[in-house]
């Protein structure tokens, strides 16, 4: 079984600041949800159910650092679609469809969303474009019937939902699926010898342009400091007259 794991390079969420139009940070990391997807693919391979894990990302050469991190975790090889533009989910999904058609994986596992824009759309659009079944917000994956089907647990607002779907399929990962491993030192050394294939959109046969444009990103307004009241009466008066909530 071959697994394709699309991942995105995002500003380090532990070190991000907002400035102008987008979040920025002194360094970038693999989107944490995508890291969970990579980890899951590795575990599937470790239990003997997958033979190859291919990573794919879109970006300028600067994202090679995150590609190497994915290879160091254990991804076998990686593809970078060389495109430095800020793409929207539809454009990303169209590029990924072209990669899926080129690589023909049995399953695509990816984060449910990227932590920089929180769009939560790429997996779903990709499934739609391919006409593949999808399981989103997944917290467990199990393969059935000689790996022709997958049983996934989905985390929904109402509780846990268990679904079965035919492969090939798109699976998007939620936080509780696993805890990604640390890149080991031997992993880092091995990653240097693994191939990174760089392709342009032209080479994979897609011509995309973003349909949406981000105009501005702003911090939420600062919460004003609270005050301490002396008595219940004073609290009620303030709630009535200042906050006007009762």
């Amino acid at each position: 079984m071959k697994i394709l794991v699309p991942f995105k390079s995002v500003p380090d969420p532990n070190d991000a600041t907002f400035a102008g139009e987008a979040a920025s940070a002194s360094k970038s990391v693999i989107n944490p949800f995508d890291e969970i997807a990579i980890e899951e693919a590795l575990r599937i391979r470790e239990r003997g159910e997958a033979t190859e894990i291919v990573g794919v990302t879109i970006g300028a050469p600067s994202v090679d650092e995150q590609i190497r991190a994915a290879l160091a975790m254990g991804v076998d090889r990686a593809i970078r679609i060389d495109d430095a533009r800020a793409l929207d989910p539809y454009a990303v999904a169209r590029i990924l469809r072209a990669v899926v058609e080129k690589e023909a994986p049995h399953v695509v596992i990816m984060g449910k969303q990227a932590v920089d824009d929180d769009s939560n759309q790429v997996g779903q659009i990709l499934a739609g474009l391919l006409g593949w079944p999808q399981a989103t917000f997944v917290s467990s994956i199990e393969f059935l019937d000689n790996k022709t089907r997958a049983r996934c647990t989905r985390e929904t607002d109402a509780g846990l939902e268990v679904v079965e779907l035919d492969l090939p399929a798109i699976i998007t990962t939620d936080l509780r699926l696993n805890e990604p491993r640390y890149v080991s030192l031997p992993g880092l050394i091995r990653a240097r010898r693994k191939p990174i294939e760089v392709l342009t959109c032209d080479q994979v046969g897609v011509n995309v342009r973003p349909l949406t444009t981000v105009l501005a990103v702003a911090r939420p307004p600062k919460r004003p400091a609270g005050t301490r009241v002396e008595s219940v009466e004073e609290l009620i008066t303030k709630l009535k007259q200042e906050a006007k909530v009762i």
């Binding site: 190497r68 160091a72 491993r181 640390y182 890149v183 080991s184 030192l185 031997p186 992993g187 880092l188 050394i189 240097r192």
Partner: protein, 377 residues
């Protein structure tokens, strides 16, 4: 010589720093108080590749290895854990790498590198410390076995070790030429890991007294040649001397940064205490000690990596870094004032941990003896 890091080396060092700062610093104060070894952190280090740093050696040479250990010392505040790792690497892994048979390497090295096995050595005895080769533990060949008798003290990792490299003499009349090394597994009949030793510092690194009473060791567990123990020990010690305080350089760097931060934040008499020359001067001394230590360490790494003789340099490096580490720790407490003496600030522990560096792997006096002898004195 060029001490600038390549992108690949920097990537590796950053990975070590990230791993250590996020994975190894929990329960350090409690573990130090109770004298608890952090088994989980040991395993994490194994999975990550710390214990395996020497095997294989394609990380970019020994220079990278000592720098990785330095970074580990900077990011991990559990000096005891690092001491246990050091003992394991220099006194168990190194002798196996150099002197182990293929069968011995195959049997023990993977586990020693991936964190499932803990190693150490047993050399010092109640009556032979600095004069290590005057040991009296005996190993008498009987058929296909050696029978070990004697007692060993200050055995780092003793209470937790799966494998000890034990030094004993096969024939006292042969003196140094009779000393041999044996791989002794835990629970070997006749080996008794006696009382755990309470210590001033490095309390998270367990140490014990170990007795051998007709302890039977199969002959295939002889490490190296019969009578080759002294040479094996000397080589292992040269590695240990040169590298064991790499993590101390990282610790000093961390202490320095802690002190700079504190000196800028703490205000007395209307200004940051760092503005007082007496405080600033201490911090400058710390900086000079860190840099001089680092340069000696890297120079040792460079020499060793180029297969040059390091007998003298290893002794000087060890001597200098140990002195610097103790002085830096003492200064750090003084800069922090009363707070520095409080456990929760994690500065006082550093001094307790640092003092041992003037004793283990040959006392500072022994290092001076080595240097003196190399100077023709």
């Amino acid at each position: 010589m060029d001490f600038a890091w390549s992108d690949q080396q920097r990537e590796l060092l950053n990975a070590v720093g990230r791993f250590a700062s996020q994975q190894l610093n929990y329960d350090v104060i409690e573990n130090d108080r109770e004298g608890i070894f952090n088994h989980e952190a040991w395993k994490k280090c194994g999975d990550f590749g710390i214990q395996g740093l020497l095997v294989p050696t394609d990380y970019g040479g020994l220079g990278t290895t000592v720098a990785a250990l330095e970074r580990l010392g900077y990011a991990c505040r559990d000096n005891g854990l690092l001491f246990s790792i050091n003992a394991h690497m220099w006194t168990a892994i190194i002798p196996l790498v150099y002197n182990g048979s293929e069968a011995q390497k195959k049997k023990y090295l993977p586990g020693l590198c991936n964190g499932t096995l803990i190693g150490g050595n047993a050399m010092s005895e109640p009556n032979s410390g600095s004069d290590a080769f005057s040991l009296t533990t005996t190993a008498i060949k009987k058929g296909s076995r050696y029978i070990l008798n004697g007692s060993k003290i200050f055995v780092t990792n003793g209470p937790i070790a799966d494998l000890l490299v034990v030094f004993a003499t096969v024939d006292k009349t042969r003196g140094t030429d009779g000393i041999s090394a044996f791989l002794v597994e835990k629970n070997s009949p006749g080996m008794n890991v006696a009382r755990k030793l309470e210590k001033m510092g490095l309390r998270t690194s367990p140490m014990a007294e170990v007795f051998f009473e007709n302890c039977e060791v199969p002959e295939e567990n002889l490490l190296g040649k019969e009578g080759g123990g002294a040479f094996l020990f000397t080589r292992s010690m040269t590695w240990e001397r040169g590298c064991i305080l790499a993590s101390a350089v990282g610790s000093m760097q961390r202490l320095l940064e802690t002190c700079i931060r504190y000196a800028n934040e703490r205000k007395q008499g209307g200004q940051s205490i760092g503005k007082y020359q007496l405080v600033a001067s201490k911090i400058v001394d710390m900086k000079v000690r860190v840099e001089s230590s680092r340069h000696m360490l890297y120079y040792y790494g460079w020499l060793s990596g180029h297969r040059k003789s390091v007998y003298l340099e290893a002794a000087m490096t060890k001597l200098h870094i140990a002195d610097c580490w103790v002085k830096c720790s003492e200064d750090a407490i003084q800069i922090h004032g009363g707070y520095g003496y409080m456990t929760e600030y994690e500065v006082e522990r550093e001094l307790r941990d640092a003092i041992a560096s003037k004793l283990y792997s040959g006392t500072s006096e022994i290092q001076r003896n080595i240097v003196a002898s190399m100077l023709g004195l």
